[in-house]
Amino acid sequence: MHTILLDPTAELRPVERQILPRLTTLTGATIGLLDISKPRGKEFLDEVERQLKALGARVRRYAKPTFARTAPLELTQRISSECDAVIEGLAD
């Protein structure tokens, strides 16, 4: 049986963990594009970058060293400190 805890709050919000607030506009926002390092990811993300810029966003590009592992801590910290949102470019 999983651990049960009693809610210490006024129970105004759903018990499920909530996603972070979404961006309301792309204009002026900095969007990270994370290439997970699978073949052809670059072409896909180039097109995403072109469309984001057309919508007024600034774009920064990142890449994981290998798709097989989770992103290194240093990389996730850099993305979270430099970007307002991140799009992860999957492939296959």
């Binding site: 651990t3 049960i4 210490p8 129970e11 963990r17």
Partner: protein, 482 residues
């Protein structure tokens, strides 16, 4: 064999193998089972094969023992038509067993008396486990089921229930134990918690007291601190919203402080005492979790202060001639009282030279001028903390606490022209309209004197108040409790 017309008397017997008295009475069980008109049900707490012969009901879950409220094994119960008419005997007392069983010659070979052993349902902590499983008392707060992969402490962080430090995961068992710290009903509403003004039950306070790390014996103080903070004069809502440093400071007076081991001595405002550390934290977590008061949300403090984790201490009441804060507020020494004050961080007063009360009171007054700003008068209240060595200076010279208060009042009278805006080349200060008035640093009832600290060190201290003190903001609020 019993005839169909005869009515059996029902008996229940609770045993455990790990009890010499239960072992002793095994022959008695045989006699009882062989007796006419006796229907005996045996419950075994620790081993269903005891007594031998498959005659016992397995009560290793202790449900039957809990429901029958067994404290000692063996316990023999003779059931009447209703539960109220049941009769019981604990341990082995031959005379009582004979009376209960109506068998005059019962156990004629056995010794007359041997006390029993503690029931497993009374093992430390077990009664709450069983109450949670089988009892009627049900908690109504929403249950949050964690995923198998979740660490329980990290889960509390993830859900935003923490002040930044690890919290104790509020399992139903821990919350139930906390609720045992008070006689008040779990569903009693204690008040509306700002800033969201959410209705709050004793149960919700208990959950947050668990989070904070309180022991159940602290819970009455937590409840009193919540009630004090909810008094209108304390202005908890405004205090939470302010950009100023201040936050609730909890001062505990009376016998309760000693009973639960609060620190009023060495390092009383520092770390290391569980009661001091967790009672203040419980109030803060309640405001965060139930009230919704989160830094950056409604809590707009520019800098805050470290006491916003927890700011709670007891007064040193060892000197019978020196009135306590609670006495100053009209209570007696044998009452337990919690007071809350809207305070900021701590400012030290060093005076290792004064040996007369005149010098030391002037020294205190000089430091007190700096509360909020040297040139702001009548805005912020303050607590002056007098350490034992400084208290001794007044006592030895025959000064009372009231004498000190009067001396401070006199020393803090100041011509307005000295502190108006622009005076001394400093733009900050009192508005020009006070220029020709005589001002006091503190409003009436704005300076509270509390005594605590280690017995070595001629260091006292000031807890400055919120710049919205008094009727337009916050006033010290006290709450007696038992």
């Amino acid at each position: 064999m019993t005839s169909p017309e005869s009515v059996n008397t029902r008996y229940s017997l609770f045993l455990k193998r790990d009890c010499p008295t239960c072992q002793l009475i095994l022959p008695v069980i045989d006699e009882l089972r062989a007796a006419p008109n006796v229907a005996l049900t045996i419950y075994s707490q620790d081993d269903p094969s005891f007594p031998e012969g498959g005659i016992a009901i397995d009560d290793s879950e202790l449900e039957h023992s809990y429901r029958a409220n067994i404290e000692v094994v063996p316990t023999l119960i003779r059931h009447g038509a209703t539960a109220e008419q049941d009769a019981r005997t604990q341990g082995w007392d031959r005379q009582l067993w004979r009376e209960l069983s109506s068998i005059a010659e019962l156990a004629s070979e056995l010794i007359e008396f041997k006390p029993g052993c503690g029931s497993k349902s009374q093992d430390p902590g077990m009664s709450e486990v069983l109450e949670l499983k089988y009892g009627e008392r049900k908690m109504v707060s929403r249950e949050v089921e964690l995923a198998a992969s979740e660490d329980d402490i990290e889960a509390c962080f993830d859900r935003g229930w923490s002040d930044g430090l690890p919290v104790v995961p509020p399992t139903p068992l821990r919350v139930l134990r906390m609720l045992h710290g008070t006689d008040r009903a779990a569903d009693e509403v204690i008040g509306l918690i700002p800033p969201d003004n959410m209705s709050c039950t004793i149960e919700k306070v208990a959950i947050n007291a668990v989070l904070a790390g309180c022991q159940p014996e602290y819970f009455p103080i937590v409840l009193a601190s919540v009630e004090a903070a909810l008094q209108d004069k304390f202005c908890m809502h405004g205090l939470l919203c302010t950009t100023y440093f201040s936050s609730p400071v909890i001062i505990v007076n009376g016998p309760v402080a000693k009973r639960i081991g609060m620190n009023s001595g060495i390092n009383a405002l520092g770390q290391g005492n569980r009661a001091n550390a967790t009672i203040g934290r419980a109030l803060q977590l309640l405001i965060r979790n139930v009230g919704g008061g989160v830094p950056g949300g409604i809590d707009r403090a520019t800098l805050g202060n470290p006491g916003k984790y927890s700011y709670c201490f007891a007064e040193d009441e060892s000197d019978p001639d020196w009135p306590t804060l609670a006495q100053d507020r009209g209570y007696s020494r044998n009452e337990s009282v919690v007071s809350v004050f809207a305070g900021e961080g701590l400012q030290g007063i060093v005076d290792q030279q004064s040996r007369t009360p005149e010098s030391l009171s002037l020294s205190f007054a000089a430091s007190l001028r700096s509360v909020a700003h040297n040139k702001l008068f009548g805005l912020a209240d303050a607590i002056l903390i007098v350490s034992p060595e400084h208290r001794r200076v007044f006592k030895q010279a025959g000064w009372s606490k009231e004498d000190l208060r009067t001396a401070l009042y006199n020393a803090l009278m100041t011509p307005g022209e000295a502190v108006v805006r622009g005076a001394d080349g400093i733009a900050e200060g009192m508005p020009e309209k006070f220029k020709d008035k005589i001002l006091n640093k503190f409003r009436d009832d704005g300076l509270h004197i509390v005594s605590l600290g280690g017995t070595a060190g001629m260091f006292s201290a000031i807890i400055g108040g919120w710049v919205a003190s008094g009727e337009r903001g916050s006033q010290l609020a006290s709450q007696p409790f038992s």
